[in-house]
Symmetry: C2
Subunit: 335 residues, 2 copies
DNA sequence: GCCTGTTATGTAAGCGCTTACATCGCCGTT
DNA sequence: AACGGCGATGTAAGCGCTTACATAACAGGC
């Protein structure tokens, strides 16, 4: 049982004041070696473990940062989290994650729940109505946005240049002499998806090609479904740009099933460069958004903001823009 | 900056005592409607957000559970986390995750850091020397272990029957008339990997086949490397059981590159059933451990333990054993 | 119109910790 | 031998919140 051994218990056991006990345990230098030993021994014997919340309250420092994502699983988010995790342990920080499940309200709720338990917040909220966020989120906590921010919220952020990426994807397909290029879009309310769609449309406009946009929701199932639509129509496209890799993957599956040859009959390219693209057959071309790095750099940025004190944080609203890089693999390489 | 609006500020602004403010905000019923309104309005105006740590300290309840995993990314862990997340939000709990990076000490450190910030712990620590854990971990916090526990620690846990699964894998390969079945093992110090290896060996013994074990570390690179070894030897195996799916995937890649036909030349089977197995070509046979469910059920179990109070928790040390299910896909299906 | 029962409100005592400040020895000076 | 200074230790005041308990206010029953 020995439930809840407190510092006080340790202090008593060691026959010193609670202050000395605290100092000894936290490794401050103003304690006699003898006292430190006694305290540490008592702590060990009693299996004392400091109480995080109490410490946080007293120091108003948690060494924890909150991460709010639309979801916390799947290859994409997993990579982001990995980036964050790597950077976090480098800075000695812990992370409190929460999936907000595609809803601004939920994101705000999650953020509120984190208040007082974290030193800063890393938020990804690619929702069209994210304007609300900027007003409701910053309870004067250092904050870094990952990915698209709605409105003119001038929060520090790391955003991917989705538009350019999409443009590049389309240009690449055109270079592979695709003329009928279809697009599987992301969720309508998703800002990143919107930008990718714009890039796609402009990319076609450049060459006077006519667009075909199929709805999607970033899942492989959506990619698969989109392909069924394509297969049913009279003329198949000869190029396909999916708004993310999962959908490209689903599409690939569907096409392979139908005996369509990739990339000869149809060239495919996705977006994000999640790990699985490499294992698909054929491996899928994509735009590397550096998902891992986004996570890592966001956290680094945040930790700087935290160090310098939240007050002036948002002043320096440094928004880093990540330009995605074209990665050509077999799915779109025509010889 | 309006930094740190406290309940006290709200109370003053609303012209009531801090107690009433607290009650109003927490929706207790013993406040006049009028007071509640005034408080809520003040809170809104001041952008009051309750301080998590303070609340936790006062109530000794955090509504957060800590999750300690060897890693927090990759398909396997991502799935686990998803299971946990789903169950957690169903129970209104938040999760504090931490990767322990393959080391008992780190795991213990992480757990200590979580003390006082969580109501319970979900730990996966498949380390051979995990005996230490049982002694050091339970600072009388409800605790559920996921996966192998070292020693006789009778902690509540959810474990996969790795041995049976491996046995089944080998039997399956034998049924596909494989006679030379190789195994790519997991990390030596990993308990789950050890059990899978045992299952493999026993599975071969049943049929008097001779084993070949290649070292691995659960990464796709290891699978790929193992295959290079196989390709270099005089006679290739005709069956391959990888200790997890990622290695099976890497192996598949390497074999495909070398022009070896799967499953005709060599049948392959993995373990875990992570999502990507379905997308590989050929899709990879595996043993479905129900990764998602492990996460979900662990959390459910934990939350029960929390409800009934930590004290008697470990008494009921209910260990649920999950029997993996054989999933046959193209990589091992011979006609 | 007094007493009791009921309910709304306030007061204050913690929750476990850190830390500014006050004490207290003990040293070397003069 | 008295004194200032310094470093080790203790005391106590919070950190922001909840909640037991005290108080106040108000209703109804006689």
């Amino acid at each position: 049982m020995a439930a809840g051994v407190t510092l006080n218990d340790v202090a008593k056991a060691a026959g010193v004041s609670i202050a000395s006990a605290s100092r000894a345990i936290n490794g401050l230098d103003n304690v006699t070696e003898e006292v430190r030993e006694r305290v540490l021994e008592a702590a060990g014997k009693l299996k004392y473990v400091p109480h995080g919340a109490a410490r946080a309250l007293a120091m108003s420092r948690t060494n924890t940062i909150g991460v709010i994502l639309p979801d916390i699983y799947g290859e994409f988010f997993s990579e982001i989290i990995r980036g964050i995790d790597v950077a976090a342990r480098a800075s000695g920080l812990h992370i409190l994650v929460s999936g907000s499940h595609g809803d601004v309200k939920e994101a705000v709720k999650a953020a509120r729940a984190m208040a007082g338990r974290v030193d800063g917040l890393l938020v990804m909220a690619p929702y069209a109505d994210a304007d609300d966020l900027s007003g409701k989120l910053p309870f004067n906590l250092p904050l870094v946005m990952m990915g698209g921010v709605g409105g003119q919220a001038d929060l520090p952020s790391l955003v991917v240049d989705n538009y350019s990426g999409a443009l590049e994807a389309v240009r690449h397909l055109r270079e592979q002499s695709c003329r009928r290029i279809a697009h599987i879009a992301g969720p309508e309310s998703n800002l990143e998806a919107q930008d990718r769609l714009r890039g796609y449309l402009d990319g076609l406009k450049e060459a006077d090609l006519s667009p075909q946009v199929l709805p999607g929701d970033f899942t492989d199932a959506a990619g698969y479904a989109a392909v069924q639509t394509l297969l049913a129509q009279e003329q198949m496209p000869d190029g396909l740009f999916a708004a993310n890799d999962m959908m490209a993957l689903g599409a690939t599956l569907g096409l392979r099933e139908a005996g369509v040859s990739i990339p000869d009959d149809i060239a495919i390219i996705g977006f994000d460069d999640i790990p699985v693209t490499r294992y698909a057959s054929p491996p899928i071309s994509t735009l590397r958004a550096g998902v891992f790095d986004i996570g890592r750099r966001s956290l680094e940025l945040l930790s700087v903001l935290i160090e310098r004190g939240s007050a002036e944080a948002s002043t320096s609203a440094a928004s880093l823009i990540v330009r995605p890089e074209l990665v050509v693999r077999a799915s779109s390489r025509r010889r």
